[in-house]
């Protein structure tokens, strides 16, 4: 069986004119992009549009991809920007319209229980109360599980800035949960969080 082409090989082939190879990249990363968009607060029914936009942007700017970094990092960066753009474009809508899709979102992901879904919906709502520049590094670090240096690369920020924003984001989130969602604080960590 032939080995699967690497991301870099596929990128080079697309840049050489074999555009059909881009479909392999899309299929390889569409779950990552969709999940990242969901975790960044994009309502589930609009994720397809955001993912479509992300991959179209990736194709248009593929010549700017730096192979020294992982393609996934670059994709995270474009997805984060697309999610923020999406949020800005929806800002003129009513607040309930912004929050309801997440709350009404009842389709389960893998390994999800009903309690998890409810907690996730409330957490997404709580995260929406954070400013974008705090929420983004927090989600990339604690939800996407990216190391600090990769978050810094994805957001094009110095590592020190990411660390300080993370610290403030955690503190703000803790305060938001304490005030508005006391039930969301994990029971074992009540002492540490107080």
């Amino acid at each position: 069986m032939a080995a699967e082409p690497t991301d870099l090989e596929l990128v080079q082939e697309v840049l050489a004119g074999r555009i059909e190879q881009f479909e392999i990249l899309v299929r390889r990363y569409q779950r990552l992009v969709a999940t990242a968009a969901l975790r960044m607060g994009v309502p589930r029914q609009e994720i397809e549009d955001v993912a479509n936009e992300v991959f179209y942007k990736v194709f248009r700017s593929l010549h700017r991809y730096e192979p020294s970094h992982a393609l996934s990092t670059w994709l995270y960066r474009i997805t984060v920007n697309a999610a923020l753009d999406h949020k800005r474009s929806r800002r003129h809508d009513a607040k309930s319209d912004e929050l309801s899709p997440s709350l009404a979102d009842d389709r389960p992901g893998q390994d999800e229980t009903a309690g998890d879904r409810e907690r996730a919906a409330l957490l997404r709502e709580a995260l929406q109360r954070l400013p974008d520049h705090y929420r983004t590094p927090l989600v990339l670090t604690h939800v996407e599980g990216m190391p600090i240096e990769e978050v810094a690369r994805a957001l094009d920020l110095p590592e020190g800035t990411v660390k300080s924003r993370l610290f403030r984001a955690r503190a703000q989130l803790k305060e938001i949960l304490r005030r508005h969602y006391p039930g969301l604080v994990p029971p074992g960590l009540v002492e540490a969080s107080s």
Binding site: I19, Q30, R31, T35, I47, E48, N52, F55, L173, A192
Partner: protein, 189 residues
Amino acid sequence: MSRRTQEERDLALWAEATLSPLRRQSAEVDVASLVMRRIAASRPRPVASILPIRWHRPAWAATLVLGCAAVLLLTTTAIVMVANGDEGARAAITLAGAGGTLLLRGTAAAGGVLRGLLEAALAMGRGGWAVLDAASPLVRAAGVMAAFCGAMSIGFSAIVVSRAQRHAPVIGRAPWTRGSWHTLNGGFS
């Protein structure tokens, strides 16, 4: 470990545990065909060729030869028509002649206007130069007069100032001069 570092670690652990339900969330989409269709629609489509590539050069050569032949045929036809005294050809020749005459006369008239303008500008320039030439002694005399008046004014001002200094009343000496006890708070000298 410092208190701040410990606090940061506690906060990181807290965030990790608190946000864990979001980590189990995922989304599935299939946008591959949509994206590929969009990309295809945004790219300019090449014009399909009806000939295989190896026929392209002979096709170009044939087009050139046929083009030259068409020009030759047209010229020959025109010559034959003129030679046989065709009415259309005669009308065309008359029209071309009238157009040529009109073009020549128009060009000549425009040249005349331009020449007239240039001559007028030159005449004005020459007149201006003559006026300047005639007025130069007057200008020089005016300059000398102005300089003389300026010098007189400076001399007169100097005399007035020196007289005023000589006759001005003395109201005290500056505090830094010798023998002076003038102080800021009203001392005596």
